[in-house]
Each structure stands twice: as C-alpha cells, then as structure tokens.
C-alpha cells in the first residue's frame, strides 16, 4: 500500500493538471482574478492614491496574501465536487495508497497558488513595483505566503468534508470574503475605528501581509511580524490537518 504512496499521489496530481489542460480558460480566469482585484483596488477604490508609490507598495503584498486566503474556496469546491459525484467513493473502493487523494489535491492546489503568485508579482513589476529587500528575504516572503496557503488548504479540505455538498460552499464563500477583507491587506488598521483595527491586527492574514511587506523591504513597513506569520499558519495546520485527516477516515462511518 505505502509502496504506492508517491505514485498514487502523483497520479492524483496529474489528474488536476489534465483538468487544467482541458479547461485552460478556467485556469486563466483563476490566475487573472487576483490581478483584476489588484487593478480594481489600485485604480478604482484606491482612487487618488492610484497604483503608484506608497499605496501600490502597500497593496501588492496585501493582495498576495488575500489571493492565498481565497485559495480556500477553490480547494473546497474541488473536494465537495468529488465527494458529491461519488468520485471519492470510487477512489476509496480501489487499492490506492491511503493519503493519495488528499496529497494529490494539496499538490495541485499549491501549484496553482504558486502560479497565481508568479502572475501577480509579474503584473506588479509591470506596474513599476519593485522589491527592496534581498533575494533571500524575497524567497522567505514567498515561503510565508505559501505556508499561509497551505494552512488555508487544509482548512478548506476539512470544511469541504464537513459540508459535503457543493451548495454549502457558497455559505463559506460569504464568510471568507469579510474575513479576507477584515485584514490589513487593503488598508492600514490605524485608519479604522479602534475596535475594528484590533480585530484586523489579530487576523492571521494580517501578520502574513505585514511580514511579507517587511521582507520585501516596503518603505514604512512594520517589522517583527515574521514570527507570527510563521506561528499562525503552523498553529492552524496543527488543528486542521489532523481534523481533516480524521474526517476523511470517518467517511467509512
């Protein structure tokens, strides 16, 4: 069984790659969506501040973190779809390695999120945004973003297994958006009413966004959040990874 753990996980990952190849438009839309949000917030809502200078430097790391948070939805949609179609039952009735279904899902989602980061960073660079930190700090920032995405991924798998039906995903979407926006991704907590600012500073995503700004050497970025940006996703993983694995095992209950 375990001898096939790698092969089966790779087969499951390849399944997602084959889906992308079948539906390139869907993949492109998924990758373009964060870019659209960036432009929308930069030009429309950012208004006078525009996409130049200080606000742009503030916004891009925020959008990167927000994109990782929104990845949760994609994970949920994919898992509930397979559950609902009975595809997961078929996998479970086959002599596959135990974890391959979830590992394949993780690998494909992480790959897509990494691609989304590349696209968004590329668009940022095209808008004139520059990283001021060194290459090691840059890679550290990307690592923190992917770590946050990895935590979101397992929360997504867990919620999908609890919800079971694709229709339930909408309910979660309605929650993900405000949680995503109740962070410092788009605006400084100082500019918010006191209580709201406190909530926003507590949001794990805010730590990731702040730490990323710091590592990118964004002028005026707060420092000292890298620790929290590591600890929060790891804590979420410590809770949701075992919950998701247990829940998957409980499909046989």
């Amino acid at each position: 069984m375990t001898a096939y753990a790698l092969t089966d996980s790779w087969t499951m990952t390849r399944r997602e790659l084959a889906r992308w190849a079948r539906q390139p438009v869907q993949l492109v839309v998924n990758l373009i969506f964060p870019v659209m949000l960036l432009l929308m917030f930069g030009y429309l809502i950012g208004g006078g501040r525009g996409v130049n200078g200080e606000y742009r430097d503030y916004l891009i790391p925020g959008m990167l973190a927000l994109t990782m948070a929104f990845g949760l939805e994609g994970t949920m949609i994919a898992v509930t779809r397979d559950l609902d179609k009975g595809v997961i039952d078929r996998f479970r009735s086959m002599p596959m390695a135990d974890g391959a279904v979830l590992v394949g899902r993780s690998a494909a989602d992480m790959l897509q999120s990494a691609m989304a980061l590349v696209v968004l960073i590329g668009v940022g660079a095209a808008l004139g945004w520059r990283v001021h930190g060194g290459p090691v700090a840059f890679l550290g920032a990307v690592g923190l973003l992917l770590l946050f995405r990895f935590a979101m991924l397992w929360i997504g798998i867990y919620l999908a297994l609890v919800a079971g039906k694709p229709e339930m995903v909408q309910a979660v979407q309605i929650l993900v958006w405000p949680i995503g926006f109740l962070s410092n991704a788009l605006a400084l907590p100082d500019t918010m009413p006191g209580w709201l600012g406190t909530v926003v500073e507590w949001n794990p995503m805010s730590h990731t966004a702040t730490a990323v700004r710091d590592l990118f050497g964004t002028p005026g970025a707060e420092s000292g959040h890298v620790g929290a940006a590591l600890v929060w996703p790891l804590a979420l993983l410590a809770v949701f990874f075992p919950l998701a694995v247990r829940r998957f095992g409980r499909l046989s209950r």
């Binding site: 889906r19 179609k85 009975g86 039952d89 009735s93 086959m94």
Partner: protein
C-alpha cells in the same frame, strides 16, 4: 468456501438510532448474478457500501472473495469493482483519460493502463467518443463508461448499485446488455435494484430486502410461486362498481386498483375461477372490459413480501 463469492452473516449498521442493516444474511455463489431487491431505504446501498469497504459494519462477518471487508479491506479492494448510484467520473476529463486515471490507480502502469482503456472503450462501444469530455456524454454513455471504469482489473466480484436508475429505456437496455456480456466471463455480480423487471431479466437469484434484512430469497420463479399460483385480473367499465364486484365475486385475497378499474386475485382452479367470475358478473349486470388469467408478476411478489399489498387493500 471456494464457490462462495460473498458471505454476509448478521450484518448490522446503524446511523444514529436508525438500523440500516439489521442482521442481514447473504450468500452469493461464484460466477452468478445476484439481485438485491427492495424499496427505497431498505438498506441496499448500505449493503453495497459495506461490501465494497466504503463503510464499516457495526457487527457481522462479511467476506468478499474470501477476505474480510474490515480486516482485509485492501485485499478486497484488489478484487472488486464498484458501480455506485451516480456515475463516479471526472466530468471534465475525456472517457479515455478517466479510464487511464483509474487504471494507473490500479497500478497497471502507464502502458497497460492506456491499452486497457482502449480495450474497454472498444468493448463498451465508446471508442469514437473517448476524447470528448464526459460532461458531454448522454446518460447511457456515461453509465457505460462508469461500468467500464469498474471493470479495469476484471474484478472477481462486481457491485452494481441501482445501475439503471435515472436512465431512459434505451440507456437501460444498453446497460443490461453490458451486464449480460460480463456474466460469461465468470465475474460474480451483486446488483441492487428497485426495478423488479431488472432483477427478473438479469439475476440468477434474488434476495428481497426490507428494513435491513432479507425477507425472501430464491430464483424469480421460486419467488413467484411463493406468492401463489395464477391470478385473475378483471377490468370493469365503471370504477364505481369495484366495491360491489369484490363483495359478489367468488374470490379471496382481492387487490383493487381504482385508477385502472382493476381487481386482481389469486386462483387455484383456473377454469372454475374464470367461468365463476364471468357468470357472477353477468348475473349482477356488471360490465367488464377484460377478464384474464395470468402468472403473478415479480411486482406482486415484492408487494406481497414487503407487506404493501395490505396497504393497497385497506386503501381500496
């Protein structure tokens, strides 16, 4: 036993307070098609899920191809194929891609998985549509592909859970043909269905399941014989006269279908019953459209066994 493909002794499974399986027993001989017939909620799907290692039973000894479904789940999975109630396929991928995916997950290796996919597409008459996304398939095609996917490794035991539910008559005929063609190959098939005709057409033996247990078992003919011999059907011109006819006719155990203006009863002596009914109707001046003798249908066996015929009578 070598010639028993499926052994179920006292299977129990609860969901909350509800018993989905309540001491179910079953033996299926190798190389046969066994029908599991029952109304919705009788426990058919739960049984298939337990047999295919998807669900853990609460109690009972359950073996498939000589392996315990709980302790030797992996050994069972190597030997079974499963066709669930809904086509379990990746809708965005093509037919060939689906079969290749499942072949690889059965560890056939890339080349054999590809060859097997081609073979199955050919066999299920899907070779022309192998590249199309499954999303664009018709219901019958999708079901055939689903069936092909459950046959990747030529399983010793194949589970079909309501294989034709939701299909149009043509799709149903397609699936029936496919199942029949399998039987020659020595595969043991366990088929659940709500359609008596399906069990009648495909199964060597039938277990009638209700409330999580087997309430009758035998060949279709044995089950029909159990309900009684021949029946007489009388269709009246006026539904309003059904009550009067039931009171008047020399018959017992009469069931009434008001919509079809039909009354039906078991008979022992065919000719005596026929002449008696015709005479009694003429004397009472009740007009009949049709009077006919026939063998019981499996439907009647089913309703009789599950106790639904009493409800029909009370309602009438």
């Amino acid at each position: 036993m070598a010639d028993t493909a499926i052994t179920v002794d006292g299977a129990e499974k609860r969901y909350g307070g509800k018993k989905a399986l309540d001491g179910l027993d079953l033996r299926v001989a190798r190389g046969t098609v066994h029908g599991v017939l029952g109304p919705n909620g009788a426990g058919k799907t739960t049984l298939v899920r337990v047999l295919s290692t998807l669900l853990r039973p609460d109690a009972g000894r359950i073996e498939v191809s000589g392996h315990d479904v709980v302790r030797e789940a992996y050994a069972v999975r190597l030997r079974i194929g499963l066709l669930g109630q809904h086509a379990a396929l990746d809708e965005e991928l093509g037919g060939r891609q689906n079969l290749e995916l499942f072949g690889r997950l059965h560890h056939l290796g890339a080349r054999r998985a590809r060859a097997r996919a081609d073979e199955l597409l050919e066999r299920f008459d899907l070779a022309d549509t192998g590249r199309k996304a499954v999303r664009q398939y018709s219901g019958g095609m999708r079901r055939r592909l689903d069936l092909a996917a459950s046959l990747i490794t030529e399983p010793e035991v194949l589970f079909l859970d309501e294989p034709t539910t939701g299909l149009d008559p043509r799709g149903r005929a397609e699936v029936w043909d496919s199942v029949r063609s399998l039987v020659g190959g020595g595969t043991t098939v366990l088929l659940t269905t709500q359609y008596l005709e399906e069990a009648d057409q495909l199964a060597d033996r039938i277990s009638v399941v209700d409330a999580g247990r087997v309430i009758a078992e035998g060949t279709a003919d044995e089950l029909k014989a159990e309900t009684g011999g021949d029946r007489i059907d009388v269709v009246l011109r006026e539904a309003g006269q059904l009550g009067a006819a039931v009171a008047l006719l020399p018959l017992t155990g009469v069931t009434v279908d008001t919509d079809r203006r039909l009354l039906s009863a078991p008979v022992t002596d065919r000719m005596e019953a026929l002449s008696g009914v015709v005479r009694a109707l003429q004397e009472a001046g009740i007009e009949a459209e049709d009077v006919a003798l026939r063998r019981p249908t499996l439907d009647e066996v089913f309703l009789h066994l599950t106790g639904d015929d009493r409800r029909v009578k009370e309602a009438a």
